[in-house]
């Protein structure tokens, strides 16, 4: 187990280094000149050269790479050339909003996806199974940005039930962050009005973000449950008179959960990525919106920072899944 763990962690570290190299290469194949962008549209040649020196862009590439890596090791993601602000500070400010959205969406996906998967496996080829199949296929095909606009139109504009966009009303003073997750912070402070407001703002974006994830958890869980329910040990348990509830919940679901867990790990990373679209639609002040506005301005440092953070999240999620596999599947522990 320890060897397995160590190997996984080492591999993740290597991948992370690879990712750092990849972002550096992408930033340096760019045809546009970051120094010119930093100096501003009206800058003369001398000002551009000055900016080039300020940002260390005049150094040879290997030296720039070395500096990039050592800076990252110190948690320094560089400065945005458009705003001059530190990308690390910006990321720390925007990341909690994204994290909160992804956590809520993932909770929604798991809480609905797993039971619906079990239900459709139990009623295989029945009306519920067909309904969830159509729902799942639609969930993957719906463009999230369009679905978000439709929900805004329906629930915010026409029904007036929920707010359209943002994380809080513009009139509400955001509280000093404890964790940065508004739902958690307001609960910790006992500020129930704020909790209610934050919750009403997160509902629509979380639904949009969770839909593809919910769909794929449902499909995988259904397929695995169908498989598991056909196994000999289920027949044996039934012959022994184990109650159907126990057969489904303990014998079959426990085995079906392993592949489902792998999908949850994958989807965590994908959510961090598709949140870009959801945040754009709902003006959610997270790293996705930050990446998009920087990308449009041709400002790479923030985009590379977001890429690294999303990649890191993806790796950590997969690492955790691998470790959970080791805990849940005794065969892997011995290997």
């Amino acid at each position: 187990m320890a060897g397995y763990l160590l190997r996984r962690i080492l591999l993740a570290g290597l991948m992370l280094f690879g990712l750092v190299c990849l972002t550096f290469v992408i930033a340096n194949v760019a045809p546009s000149d970051p120094a010119a962008l930093a100096a501003g549209p009206d800058a003369g040649r001398s000002q551009i050269e000055q900016a080039r020196r300020d940002y260390g862009l005049d150094k040879p590439l290997p030296e720039q790479f070395l500096r990039y890596v050592t800076d990252l090791l110190h948690g320094n993601f560089g400065r945005s050339v458009a705003t001059g602000r530190s990308v690390g500070t910006d990321l720390a400010r925007y990341f909690p909003a994204t994290l909160e959205l992804v956590i809520v969406a993932m909770t929604l996906g798991v809480l609905l996806g797993v039971p619906l998967g079990v239900l459709s496996a139990l009623r295989k080829d029945g009306p519920i199974d067909h309904a969830t199949r159509i729902f799942a296929v639609s969930g993957i095909a719906l463009p999230p940005f369009w679905f978000g606009l439709l929900l805004q139109l329906g629930f915010a504009t026409w029904l007036g039930l929920l707010p359209t966009s943002g994380r809080l009303s513009v009139f509400t003073e955001p509280p000093d962050p404890i964790t940065g997750l508004l739902l958690v912070d307001s609960a910790l402070r006992g500020n129930w009005a704020l909790l209610g407001e934050a919750a009403s703002y997160i509902v629509l974006p979380a639904i949009v973000l969770s839909l593809p994830c919910l769909a794929s958890i449902l499909r995988v869980n259904r397929a695995e449950m169908v498989e598991a329910l056909r196994m000999d040990y289920v027949v044996a348990a039934r012959a022994h008179g184990v109650t159907p509830w126990r057969i489904v919940m303990v014998h079959a679901l426990k085995n079906a959960m392993l592949p489902t867990l792998a999908i949850i790990g994958l989807r965590w990373g994908w959510m961090m990525s598709s949140t870009v679209l959801v945040e754009t639609v709902f003006d959610w002040p997270g790293i996705g919106l930050y990446a998009v506005s920087s990308a449009i301005a041709g400002d790479f440092k923030p985009v590379m920072g977001v890429t690294l953070i999303v990649g890191l999240n993806f790796m950590i999620a997969n690492l955790i899944v691998d470790l959970l596999y080791g805990v849940l599947d005794p065969r892997l522990r011995r290997a």
């Binding site: 296929v137 463009p143 598709s274 790479f300």
Partner: protein, 296 residues
């Protein structure tokens, strides 16, 4: 179902085809997928000849007619400069289909040879190819595509390049795992013993046997690529207005919500139906071509 489908593999070609067609048409969702894909392809092929207002394709300006609600003259209404939305959505099918097929084909052309090479060569070469592939798979596609577009500059061509660079690793994975399992099959051994050349083994034995999962994946990926291009168009990094690309249209239409809601509805519905069609078609093809891997 899968037992029947597996028989199909053993039957002679003509009966195999008939069985496959029968299996395919028995499933409602597969047929729905085929119908949707056929409709999109027809719209894309016939587009310029069937649109009701050919002058609106390039984005004419007819302000007297702007932001009209859906009517018999304009089924989906008109946009902010008075163009017929139906016309622009039909022309959009052309762009999306072309881009979706282009991205998928290019990704497969890069990925499949690399994957087969890795699977057959083994050793150091396989290690290098697969680690490089894993690297590209270590960041979710959309974020990597945004990073690439940020570096290359916005625009539909750059969006396509970025998505191809994001998409090929999936094909390496698929082709490698197929090549690895086929390599162990007795018929490869037999071909080698019979003195077949390496290239012949590749071309006549390995490739045809990895074709089924490849076709299934490509069908699914065309849908996903259409969605990805529209997504980049929507956030302003893909096609630029007034190009009638679906995602870019929605990004403009967003500014006209909620009063002129129909503007955003039509392009989004077309994206949805196109992606749905390719997904259902892929699912249906998997049931008949590759029944054993029917999962998820």
């Amino acid at each position: 179902m899968s037992a029947v489908a597996e028989q199909a593999v053993a039957a002679p070609p003509r009966r195999r085809l008939r069985l496959a067609v029968w299996l395919f048409t028995r499933s409602f969702s597969s047929v729905l997928g085929l119908v949707l894909v056929a409709a999109i392809v027809l719209l894309a092929l016939l587009g310029p000849w069937i649109v009701p207002y050919p002058d609106d394709v390039q984005g004419g300006i007819n302000l007297a007619n702007k932001l009209q609600p859906p009517s018999w003259q304009h089924w989906f209404g008109t946009d902010e400069v008075g163009n017929d939305i139906l016309t622009r959505v039909i022309i959009g099918a052309r762009i999306s289909l072309l881009v979706g097929i282009g991205i998928t084909a290019a990704a497969a052309l890069i990925g499949v040879p690399l994957g087969i090479l890795a699977g057959l060569a083994g050793g150091r070469l396989r290690e290098v190819i697969m680690r490089f592939t894993d690297l590209f798979l270590s960041v979710p596609g959309l974020v990597l595509a945004i990073a690439l577009v940020a570096a290359l500059g916005p625009g539909i061509v750059n969006a396509m390049i970025a998505l191809i660079l994001v998409w090929w690793p999936g094909y390496v994975r698929l082709a490698e795992s197929k090549a690895l399992s086929i390599r162990e099959e007795p018929f490869i051994e037999a071909a080698r013993v019979a003195g077949a050349q390496r290239s012949r083994i590749l071309w006549r034995h390995v490739l045809p046997n990895s074709l089924s999962p490849l076709i299934v994946k490509m069908s699914m990926d065309i849908g996903q690529a259409i969605l990805a291009v529209a997504s980049l168009g929507f956030i302003g990094l893909g096609a630029k207005p007034p190009t009638p690309e679906w995602g870019a249209m929605i990004s403009i239409a967003r500014g006209y919500l909620p009063e002129w809601w129909w503007y955003a509805v039509a392009p989004g519905a077309f994206i949805y139906l196109a992606v749905l069609g390719f997904n259902l078609l892929g699912d249906g093809l998997r049931d008949i071509l590759d029944p054993r891997s029917n999962r998820g």
